[in-house]
Assembly symmetry: C2
Homo-oligomer: 358 residues x 2
Amino acid sequence: MHIDELDTPALWADLDVVERNISRMGEYCKEHNLALRPHIKTHKIPELAWRQIGSGAVGIACAKVTEAAVMAAAGLDDILLAYPLWGEHKWRNLLALTERAKVSVATDSARHAHATAVALGEDRKKISYLVEIDAGGRRTGLALDDSLSGHVARIAESGVPVRGIMLYPGHVRQVEDMDISELNAQIGQAKSAFEKAGVTVEIISGGSTPTAFYSHRIGGLTEIRPGTYIFNDLNYHSLGACTLADCALRVRCRVVSTSVADTAILDGGSKTFSDAAGLAGPGFGMIEQYPDALCEKMNEEHGYVRTGGCEQRPATGELVDVIPNHVCTTVNMHRVLYLARGGEVEEILPIAAAGKIH
Amino acid sequence: MHIDELDTPALWADLDVVERNISRMGEYCKEHNLALRPHIKTHKIPELAWRQIGSGAVGIACAKVTEAAVMAAAGLDDILLAYPLWGEHKWRNLLALTERAKVSVATDSARHAHATAVALGEDRKKISYLVEIDAGGRRTGLALDDSLSGHVARIAESGVPVRGIMLYPGHVRQVEDMDISELNAQIGQAKSAFEKAGVTVEIISGGSTPTAFYSHRIGGLTEIRPGTYIFNDLNYHSLGACTLADCALRVRCRVVSTSVADTAILDGGSKTFSDAAGLAGPGFGMIEQYPDALCEKMNEEHGYVRTGGCEQRPATGELVDVIPNHVCTTVNMHRVLYLARGGEVEEILPIAAAGKIH
């Protein structure tokens, strides 16, 4: 089947590029003796997680316990829940997950660590904790100040084994601006605080796609958790984290109207692409066949493309391929990914963990 | 079951407010002899479409043929596809839909009208067209100029019966600024062009939630297609189209971290709320219990709430209710809606047409 035969909008990826992206990250981590733990939020597909394991990954990271359940059901058996789960439903699901996988959980407060431990009761030793520190993103994570060792000690008192440190340098977007000496100092400070609390640091888990290939310069990292690298996207391209040729994912859309002057309307809007803003400027992506067209804005089902700047313009009924701003949120809107080589569909993969909100 | 017992994030609506919103629109349309055809993209739930029918609605509007199929399977039998569907998959689904419902389709070009007619072949008379005109939104729709009657005549030559005019004044956001005389002039001009083309105008379909209660002042409208009114949201509140008390929908989230100063992190991000921007300013919504908190930004699973401006602040583990910016895109991220009165869940409705992208 050729991709021209797919109903639109259709999510597809170039299999050559996907394979290259997977193997490049695997090789980098082997070369630098880093454990690779891909975040599966990008693809949400067990089959692709297995290919990452095949490239040397030691396990996976998930955000949601229901995403983790999908992965565990497919045999993925080493899972970090990189998120401070809270609630009876979630703790029950977490316990069920330990029947199938080795499970670690991020925590960033004694309150969370103890609530989870109380909920798990005698089973609390079936999980372990990574303690998150705030590397500057002001999202989650303990502050790197004098209070840190006290917090870590109280977390350890929960009775859940603490295995190490988690950080997410997701605020480091422009890799050339990354202050590696500051990150190194932060990690050094965190390690001292953990030692002072009497907690052995076995794992220091960091990484994100834009910073991934700099990880060997960050002292002490034992593991990285990049997600986006498997597909890459326009936002990471705009940050210099990948080339356009590294962008594997496309949303194939149909032009359904050109009745308004200098405009082509696509049959994909925010329900197809998500509303993810473009880091490099306005718009929802780039049309491969019409790179001078401006993917200006969206409603739920309509993508507004302004074609005034194009020499050639698409006709009503024509198929186009859009490279999206943010692949993770785009993939989440779809239920099937087509993998193609030279335009021929080789595989049809259900996006089994898409749309999981719990 | 109390809403406190739901796994988070949970989508719920106040049933009293939903019922009031439904009946108010139904009564307005009866009073002014307007056909009400609610756009079901807001709720995507057949059961709620039936309650709109119960308030006097003549049928429904859908954007996607797969959404329409869900509705038709539940017995909704008068459906406007307010979208220029294009493609063999879609035309086959359209034909299947005519077995269960009276179906009309929006078109805005002879090219689209004829392609659809050719695809349907002898069955083309099983559907009818509304011809969309561009009322100023620069999205879809034919221009109101001298070419209009020619376009309409060529659309009519497709052999699909043309029943009237469709317009979407969705660009009219600030209702007090709405230039009704201009809309009236546009409709008059369109009617003349249709007459010149020899096409009888039986239906003039307009409306959107912000303009809905002004529809009786727009000359010639026979039908309106508001969607959001059933729930309302923060964006329409900021436009003056509803009060906060009219906003029925909430996303119940849990605070999972307060480790970063002046910050509460919710277990709902762009996968829960969609990324819909706030028309009134930054942020992704308003927390009912902490209206002074700033729902600043989101990642996929994290909602960043800055609490520096709050006298009381939420604790880790606490439940909060967020009124979202845009209900339509928020509902689309969920699969179940809880309807509650006084905090007690009375109904659990599957959002059967959520996530339909075709």
